[in-house]
Symmetry: C2
Subunit: 299 residues, 2 copies
């Protein structure tokens, strides 16, 4: 089975400057996924994962607006809600392009309760506050205010892996792993949701590796991974080996929270299997798969 | 394959008088689902569907609170979000009881664009307004205000039926069909979301019939379907034949929007197959399956 994992960045749904009206998002994601029918015709089994940053942020703002009147949900439940929201939008887009229904699965991802990330929350999420709230970890952003900061632990295991495999074999396209998955930790015989955010590219890599995928495609809002990004001597990386990228990572050549985790995901993917990883723009996925666009990473 | 479809009423998650704090809902649903492990041990393949009324109402209030700042989602997208929210809570509860992950699938349900329900919206949803809003269908509720009223068309087809069947065979328990499914109509080669609410019991019946299920269990907040409900001569219905219930429905013996659609779902289920239907309280599911509680309906 030829398997490809496509990780869609948030810009596949909401373009820069857009507010995120439903009709806009539906059009955007339909365009980003124009590549899927030809992949399916060529015998690829495709897993589609996606980000959820702006969606979960909006939902938290909406919940907070009625604080005290309607109980707010924990962050991981908000994550589950955006999996429903975005999963449906992707499902609708794919149904149009494939002429048949495509399943979307809720996905939980196990992290370690001992992950050092829990001692050093680093991922800012949700609304800004003018005063520092009494509880929780907050970071101050100049001119904007205090923002909640949560842990971003490493994904260890996709809980619904069996179901994803079963569906992928039979249905050929599966939507899952939204927003990096709903983070849970194992406590005895049960899983507990945790207030954290898992990087969606790293979760997509763990999934791609577990599925023995041949390709991991990370689609984002830049056309290449770049050296000296946003400087006058910026340079596209067209081809790269994992070892070379490791050196660049060590020199902090890529921005944390943005390109660095994508590069890390690609390195881990090519080093743990026989696969090939691509980083490309959401509107160049088809071209990138033909080798005509994007950054191509091999072992 | 012995298949049972269990349709959980909203009270399986939020009990009367509760606000719906996450921890409360998680405890409630865990109790309601205590019956699942023994069903699985006895070789049943179980599909769990659920209501979403209070959840979708809360979400709409939260969205409206930031009207003009964050784009509100259409009602069917809110439905998809609650499938994520409640699907996850059920998933967590089942993981504890079964010691293994259980898949939750987003589910779209096709309705007819020509369903007469679209000409006569009858289902009140969401917040109350003091003044009648300029657009859309609204109903006035004395002392409370104007409330949006949407169509409640009949479910025709579960779009993700194949995926549900595939998973059910392999994984034994599947969560799907939340809130009656996300309503879509077929337009040429594509499906379009529609502003409507599908009755979750009728959608569960369409699913149970399509799966050739042996049992349809509708779990709600009363222990029996009753004659002369809430009158001094109230009477529990313990056993009933479909034909007898049809007569009672014709005499308007059951409340619309409440017991009547449950009775209709049970009649349609037993008449279109060899199955047996049960209506019981969410905390008596196990007892009802042993024949010791609930209303039992056969052809």
């Amino acid at each position: 089975m030829k398997t490809l994992v496509l990780a869609l960045g948030g810009n596949a749904l909401i373009h820069e400057g857009q507010l995120g009206m439903y009709a806009q998002q539906q059009t955007n994601v339909q365009n980003a996924l124009a590549c899927i029918p030809s992949l399916v015709r060529n015998g690829w089994h495709v897993v589609i994962t996606h980000g959820n940053g702006p969606h979960v942020g909006n939902l938290q703002l909406q919940e907070q607006a009625l604080h005290g009147k309607i109980p707010e949900m924990p962050l991981y439940v908000d994550g589950a809600m955006t999996q429903g929201q975005i999963g449906f939008m992707i499902q609708q887009a794919l149904s149009i392009q494939l002429g048949k229904p495509v399943p979307a699965l809720l996905t939980r991802v196990q992290v370690s309760a001992r992950d050092p990330a829990f001692r050093h929350p680093s991922k800012p999420i949700g609304p800004y506050y003018s005063k520092k709230p009494p509880r929780g970890a907050f970071t101050h952003v100049p001119k904007k205010g205090w923002r909640k900061t949560v842990a971003s632990p490493l994904p260890q295991k996709i809980l619904e892996l069996n179901a994803i495999q079963t569906l992928l074999k039979k249905e050929q396209v599966v939507i899952c792993g939204g927003g990096g998955g709903i983070p849970v930790v194992k406590k005895g015989k049960k899983w507990k949701g945790v207030e954290a955010v898992i990087d969606k590219d790293l979760a997509s890599q763990v999934l791609a590796t577990a599925l023995n995928a041949q390709k991991l495609v990370i689609a984002t809002n830049v056309d290449f991974a770049k050296l000296h990004y946003e400087t006058p001597w910026e340079e596209n990386i067209v081809r790269a080996k994992a070892k070379g990228l490791e050196c660049l990572l060590a020199c902090k050549a890529f921005e944390e929270g943005s390109m660095a985790p994508k590069i890390r995901a690609c390195i881990a993917f090519v080093e743990q299997g026989q696969g090939h990883a691509i980083i490309c723009h959401t509107n160049q996925i088809e071209k990138a798969l033909k080798g005509l666009a994007g950054t191509h990473i091999t072992r």
